[in-house]
Symmetry: C2
Subunit: 196 residues, 2 copies
DNA sequence: TTTGACATGTAAGCCGTTACATGATTTA
DNA sequence: TAAATCATGTAACGGCTTACATGTCAAA
């Protein structure tokens, strides 16, 4: 059942994912395949969407009249479905960006769960977990720093650059924090392996 | 159907949520109500769990023999169900902490989506969004700083303190980043409202 | 010859949230 | 008298992930 289409007042708001797909499709007419690839290397850094989900959302947005689809037959390839944003789609996107209040996000971090229960594993194991997380942060930091540098000096990309910079700063915060708490983890290790 | 109990090899691993509930219940025997409250103010800062989900997980962990339940009749209150971790529950918890590999977490941030699509709203609106996010970060920072200070000088709480410190450092990173990109947002505003 | 890009989907099913449902006791 | 605490759950449902399914073409 499609509540969204049966009821003009739309009690149940579209999920954020739908609006993000709408936003991506608003940049230029695009296929699901193409949109998935673009999503993955741009907004996917802070709002990943499964490929299969993208196809579902594109279809739903069509049913709602927020996107229009044009089938384009191709030689030697499956028929493309090119989605383009409609007037009402543009309205809905702007309305969503403008009116939806920001809520504090309660995001899950399994690494911190490991730290929380850190005394249930060996001190060595805990330190290895910290090493791993540090390595992930370093990789992330390098990757996003490259993105930031690529967008340097391109005024029209300033906001996209800002989102990448956010990731860089947070990765750096993780690295600083890891250095800060490492002594604690190491103290636990030497306490057990030391002269007792 | 309960795949977990029908198949000793347990193809489908228990979700992280179940393990976190198991971990919380391992601290001391507790009721669902009590565990939910404790979860909310401790691990909930980086791994929130809905209260209703906690009741479901406690039941499942019982069916799997990882927890044991004791019903305690009370005067003037509903019968309590006190859950206590079993030997095999302790084993499973340690196994999970020890063996489950850390994966890079792709967490969603709707604020960054707003920044990404920042040129679709008015410069004023974008700056207000930045203001809001900054305020949230400041609140978060203050709240977690208080937690860190409360745990200062308590060696047995060093790891819990570390998880709170992680939140503090990240909130600070957000505040620094906000200050860093504010000029960009303001430039967009003056560009439109300025002499043109 | 094999990998990767192009191209689109369906099926299954747990996870998790929100709302609902109930009721006594204590405190402000 | 209203709100907070204690205390336990069910119902409904969408969201999202994982796996499955299929096939061509170009490049290494």
């Amino acid at each position: 059942l499609d509540w969204y289409i049966l009821d003009g007042m739309s009690h149940r708001p579209l999920p954020a994912t739908a609006h993000v797909v709408l936003g991506l499709a608003s940049i230029r007419p695009t296929t699901g395949h193409e949109l998935a690839a673009f999503s993955e290397r741009s907004i996917g850094n802070f709002f990943p969407i499964a490929r299969s989900q993208i196809y579902l959302e594109l279809e739903r947005l069509c049913r709602l009249g927020l996107l229009e689809v044009t089938e384009i037959a191709q030689e030697r390839r499956p028929t493309k479905r090119v989605y383009e944003i409609t007037r009402s789609g543009g309205d809905e996107l702007r309305r969503w960006l403008d009116e939806t209040p920001l809520e504090p996000e309660r995001t899950r971090n399994l690494f911190l769960v490991r730290v929380f229960f850190g005394d249930r594993v060996s001190p060595d194991r805990l330190e290895r977990t910290l090493d791993e997380y540090e390595a992930l942060a370093r990789t992330q930091c390098d990757r996003l720093t490259a993105v930031v540098e690529r967008l340097d000096g391109r005024p029209e990309a300033a906001l996209r650059r800002a989102t990448a910079l956010f990731g860089v700063r947070h990765a750096q915060a993780t690295l600083d924090w890891a250095a800060e708490i490492r002594p604690i983890v190491q103290a636990a290790r030497s306490a057990r392996s030391g002269p007792g």
